[in-house]
């Protein structure tokens, strides 16, 4: 999610580096995402050139709540908005945005405002 000063104006999609097929209870591309660091670096450089910043990352949680998992916390970057969309049976049912505390201890939910 790109923008400036907390306002997201552009979405760039990045391929999930994980392509493994689903296995219930197991890790796979269904329930884990990984953005190639080089792809990320390119996105950030492009944004820099255009006077924008990467403000956060959006991802979905199929069939589970729109709150960060322990895995999300373990891998989180500070100063990013983590927008999580809960998708149940193929439909987006809930979206929440989260921000990592500076001491990495937890996420705090943040307000999302949608403007035209």
């Amino acid at each position: 999610m790109l923008g400036k000063d907390g306002v997201i104006t552009e979405i760039v999609s990045a391929d999930n580096r994980r392509t493994d097929l689903p296995a219930a209870g197991g890790e796979s591309a269904r329930n884990r995402y990984l953005i190639d660091p080089l792809v990320y670096m390119k996105i950030e450089r492009e944004a820099d050139k255009r006077g924008m910043d990467v403000l956060g990352i959006y991802h979905s949680h199929p069939d589970v709540a729109a709150r960060p998992s322990q895995f999300d916390l373990d891998h989180a970057w500070p100063n990013f908005s983590y927008l999580i969309v809960s998708v149940v049976k193929g439909k987006a049912v809930e979206s929440n945005s989260w921000r990592l505390r500076d001491d990495r201890s937890a996420f705090d939910q943040e307000a999302v405002e949608i403007s035209e």
Binding site: G26, E27, H75, W77
Partner: protein, 495 residues
């Protein structure tokens, strides 16, 4: 010497908002060390408590990942270090316990299962699910033995067991639920005695039948999960298909010689089924059975216990099931390898448009004639005795007469060399079945050729092969050398 370090957006607030920082240092670790000294707030995000770079932090020197070189690598004037986020996350859908019911534990059971109860992942709740669980074991042989023993000890409330066979001396090397004194006894009786001795709380339900397309759904439907300990393809496909249709998890295991495999098949829980992995059975005879190829007894314990382990996890809904993954064990290397088994969207049983919607004739599907039908446990290649001999068969009594009369024929033993060392019939030509396609021309076409193996299965296949090569005068010894040992020459050992 100052090196330019690029800071990712996410961390710039901790570096006074700068996109790049000039930091002194001669190696990567020196530069990063100085960076995090100068901007201390960066440290917890780059390094974990044990001082290692976090696994989601990538460091590039001039766009080259340093992981190959290590962070002691030199940096030179003009180099640019970039800190790049590897962005990861996501949430695992929780695996629900397949057992929804809970059965209250008695005081005796609380004592018995105390080591489970203090395991946080099991606890009283998990143990009550284990007690409520109804588990079906197909076979009480090499795999079924350890599975039954451990699941009974673990407190599984109900165990059904399908087995038609009686205990044989050749079972004792690996089927550890059966003891020497049980030889000749029905395996279900033998198993029940041991299981009840371990845990009298067990509700044991014996099925003294062969599992077939006619009875499989009826037997399986009352259970929560199935553990497949069969040694033959028709039963394996039958159990798979029935479990897919009834939405029952199928914990699969198989063993051969020094190898074993295990997986969990459960399309209704998101995994593949056996057919996603093996849509078609191998041609009959290509994969030898344990009775033909041998098996290290110990492997049964290793693979069977992996199955039991997965069964417990499914029951309590904890951990990562062996689903979508095939675990292959090599006893000689002492190594485990994991293979991914993707779900096949076109699978004939669990795919989007299944073509197999009711149980079929699995013997026909596997290309096996009724005579060499497989069973459920180790020594399943049950051969025809005297009655019901096929047109190509002769009995061992006939073979004896032919030898006594000094008929003109060639007796060919198609077993493996290791088996020749155990016993042979005097005067036989040794030609192992795997070598037959290369060596069959050693056999005369104008003479009667009589083929034998251990019990008649492999020599039957050899006969078919020779017929396809233009041999006309062929006979197969029904019951093989074991029948010879039993009925003609008691000096020959049976195995």
């Amino acid at each position: 010497m100052a090196i330019k370090v690029t800071i990712p957006t996410a961390l710039r607030r901790f570096a006074n908002g700068q996109a790049t920082v000039e930091v002194p240092g001669g190696t990567i670790s020196e530069v990063l060390g100085n960076l995090t000294t100068e901007h201390a707030q960066l440290r917890p995000h780059l390094y974990s408590d044990d001082g290692k770079l976090r696994n989601f932090v990538r460091v590039y020197v001039n766009d080259e990942d340093i992981r190959a070189k290590g962070d002691d690598a030199q940096v030179n004037e003009g180099d640019e270090i970039s800190i790049v986020p590897s962005i990861a996350g996501g949430n695992l859908a929780k695996l629900d316990p397949i057992i929804k019911d809970r059965a209250k534990l008695t005081n005796e059971e609380i004592k018995r299962y105390s080591r489970h109860l203090i395991l946080p992942e099991v606890g009283v709740e998990g143990q009550e699910r284990i007690k409520a669980a109804k588990v079906l074991l197909i076979g009480s042989g090499g795999l079924g033995s350890p599975i039954a023993l451990y699941l009974t000890a673990a407190g599984v409330g109900t165990i059904g067991m399908v087995e038609f066979d009686t205990v044989d001396f050749s079972n004792l090397q690996r089927q550890i639920i059966h003891f020497t004194g049980d030889v000749g006894k029905h395996k279900l009786k033998s198993a029940e005695e041991k299981l009840k001795a371990i845990n009298p709380n067990l509700n044991f339900i014996p099925y003294p039948v062969k599992i077939t397309s006619d009875n499989a759904l009826d037997i399986i439907k009352d259970y929560d999960l199935v553990l497949d300990g069969t040694d033959n393809f028709p039963t394996r496909y039958l159990v798979n298909d029935a479990c897919v249709m009834l939405k029952k998890p199928n914990v699969y295991g198989s063993i051969f010689r020094w190898e074993g495999m295990a997986s969990v098949f459960a399309p209704h829980l998101g995994g593949p089924c056996y057919r996603c992995w093996y849509p078609e059975p191998p041609p009959p005879g290509l994969v030898p059975s344990c009775a033909e190829g041998g098996v290290l007894g110990v492997i049964c314990g290793i693979i069977g216990n992996i199955q039991a382990n997965e069964a417990v996890k499914l029951i309590i809904g904890k951990g990562k099931p062996l689903m979508g993954r095939l675990l292959r064990f090599d006893a000689m290397d002492m190594s485990f390898r994991e293979y991914k088994i993707p779900r096949d969207p076109n699978c004939p049983v669990c795919g989007k448009n299944p073509t197999v919607t009711k149980l079929i004739d699995y013997l026909e599907f596997c290309g096996i004639g009724r005579g060499e039908e497989g069973g459920t446990s180790g020594d399943s290649i049950v051969e025809k005795k005297d009655e019901g001999l096929g047109p190509d068969d002769i009995s061992v009594e006939t073979l004896k007469k032919m030898r006594d009369r000094k008929d003109d024929f060639v007796l060919v033993d198609v077993r493996n060399p290791d088996e020749f060392a155990i016993c042979t019939i005097d005067g036989s030509v040794k030609l192992p079945l795997p070598e037959l396609p290369q060596r069959f021309q050693e056999l005369p076409k104008d003479k009667l050729i009589v083929l034998h193996c251990k019990s008649g299965g492999r020599s039957g296949r050899a006969l078919k092969f020779l017929r396809s090569q233009g041999y006309g005068k062929l006979k197969n010894v029904a019951g093989g050398i074991n029948a010879w040992a039993e009925r003609i020459d008691p000096n020959v050992p049976q195995y």
